[in-house]
Symmetry: C2
Subunit: 378 residues, 2 copies
């Protein structure tokens, strides 16, 4: 059976990138690797649309975000964090562990933080050191308007604008410099289309300054050390060499396509999936849908486990289930990374056949028809 | 030109393992991955010769050691650390960053800590929480007698026996349970023959108990969280999936060969390289040679940069140079991981041709002859 991955990380890896990573390994303290990392560093700046450094760390996205907390702040610092899902929740817990004062903006799952909420939190906490936003919340498929909120935060405070861009970078428009973002983190297994194991952290001049007054102990996640090595296109610790080789190839693909085209493709594919899902008589979960992942309510009368068993066992398609309170109630289809228009038709076709087998009542073909129309309407 | 890697991490990757890692990626929260991790966890216990948990973390070896410091100890705790090279030095610096009281056993580069030194440090610091030893110091090629020192520490204190086994596990005999080790860390790009990006941490019952009283803040490197997930053959954060797939294949290779045979092979190859180096009229750097890497003095009259340029540029062989005070003065040949007897002949043959070109005076062929004799004498 052909297997197809529609999960929001890991995402499918382009075949040429897989084979590149399978080449004989090179040593990281050698000119060959330095040349690769020099190109990666440059292309990461293109990806984030920044002239500031983008640091490559060997860890998951969670480790990348932790590096920003321990490197920029001190115990007692006030951090505002928007929590509208599993990851937002994590960025509330993490700074608490490090003794920071966390002001939580609670956001209903499927929704995004509003300007009013952020402004109120800033007004109530004028000493806020940073606001953490999740650009695309993987657990809910909700997208945050980072551009507007960054502007608002900049205009109303001195707080750093820190963005979990893990499921957003490479799918959503991100203009680090133009939008005034101070910290943006992503992971390798998302829009970058390679296996998990690397995190990338863009840091503004203000973020670098903040590192000078940080009092938290750190070693592996010390971004100051990473910055020092970055100046020589090096890393302080042994990097995940094969993944860096992979991201080099993936970034070259992104550059060839053009970042604006990559963003436009994600918007087009997301719209096509949503049209297909609605066309097949299902309901979307999120009010502010992300271009990376589309969560859908499991329709009444359909049992999630049976549905997933057929989709996976008979059609070879892996999607993601719901989390926490929404386990068994929603499922999530990812269209983040290495996908094209025909993949969306494949996905909706399999979805329709699976739904039919599960007893869901709808007109067969109505999902794919809607997807085709959405794709043609571009 | 054929390229050959003789560096102590990354080490060469078996072709079958490279191809395994190039297969389409799978999602980590799925039964397919659970099955792989279940097998990996079991085979890691075989590798470390333990019935205790061996945790898989996505980070370099340095991150693995940091996880042990932040998860087991508290500020003010006394740690004895033996420092006889770049890595020993790092394990002195790291706990200091976390506010621990570090008692340093200074060891001359190329030598190993003695029983007398360790005993004296323990007697002078009866409240010591742990002794950190480097089994095979990559920068000097010196091996520490972990078996004897573990016994000594156990008999004379309550301190935990913590071992940096990064360049040792899979090359040197390591019997975690039998020797009474409490913590042992290794990295993926060493004896495990896969790319860097994973660290493995074996923890004894005493080490797990120590986690309960640790007061240091931690999140990504929280071994208690890792242990909780380990019980379900899962990981708390997204793991480096392709590397886990690789280590699964590599561990199966080790199991097929048999761990005792793997250790014996490393001893045999190390002896063959040393015989070859001495046969070609060079001098060994370390008094207590490791089976993983052999450092050699650059002979008088030979210029390191020219030597390395010929070895790499003409013969395609990458070795490691000296570090810190020994830059340009020594070089290091690794025989850790995926090597066989014929690779040693290749290496010494290239060494002889390079030395001759650099003007070193010796009888051509004397190195390879000594290597052959050493291999036949097994």
């Amino acid at each position: 059976m052909k297997k197809r991955l529609f999960t929001p990380g890991p995402t499918p890896i382009p075949e040429t990138v897989m084979l590149k990573m399978a080449e004989p390994i090179i040593h990281h303290r050698n000119p060959e690797f330095n040349e690769i990392l020099t190109r990666v560093n440059k292309n990461l700046q293109y990806l984030f649309q920044t002239e500031q450094p983008v640091l490559t760390l060997t860890c998951s996205g969670t480790g990348g975000v932790e590096a920003t907390f321990v490197s920029l702040f001190s115990p007692g610092d006030t951090i505002i964090a928007a929590n509208g899902g599993k990851f937002g929740e994590r960025w509330v817990k993490m700074p608490k562990v490090y003794g920071m004062n966390v002001v939580e903006i609670k956001v209903e799952w499927g929704k995004a933080p509003t300007e009013e909420q952020v402004l109120a939190a800033l007004k109530a906490n004028p000493d806020t050191k940073a606001v953490y936003l999740v650009h695309s919340e993987t657990s809910t498929g909700a997208a945050t308007d980072v551009k507007s909120l960054a502007k608002l935060i900049r205009e109303n405070s001195n707080a750093l604008v820190c963005v979990d861009g893990i499921t957003a970078v490479g799918a959503h428009e991100v203009r680090f410099d133009e939008w005034g973002i101070d910290v943006c983190v992503t992971g390798s297994q998302k829009g970058l289309m390679i296996p998990p194991g690397l995190a990338f952290v863009a840091v503004s001049k203000r973020a670098v300054e903040a590192m000078n007054s940080s009092k938290l102990p750190k070693f592996y996640f010390d971004l100051k050390k990473a910055l020092k090595s970055y100046a020589d296109n090096d890393t302080p610790w042994t990097p995940a060499v094969s993944l860096v080789v992979g991201v080099d190839a993936a970034l070259q693909k992104i550059r060839e396509e053009g970042i604006e085209n990559v963003w436009a493709r994600h918007r087009r594919l997301a719209n096509a999936i949503r049209a297909g899902v609605v066309g097949a008589g299902l309901k979307l979960f999120s009010e502010f849908p992300s271009f990376a992942v589309t969560p859908v309510w499991v329709p009444e009368g359909v049992e999630w486990k049976q549905f997933n068993k057929i989709l996976k066992g008979k059609y070879g398609i892996t999607i993601a289930g719901g989390q926490d309170d929404f386990t068994g109630k929603i499922f999530r289809i990812s269209h983040l990374g290495y996908y094209d228009e025909l993949d969306m038709i494949t996905m909706i076709g399999a979805l329709e056949m699976t739904l039919k087998e599960c007893g869901h009542v709808f007109e067969m073909g109505s999902g794919v028809k809607a997807t085709l129309n959405a794709l043609m309407a571009k």
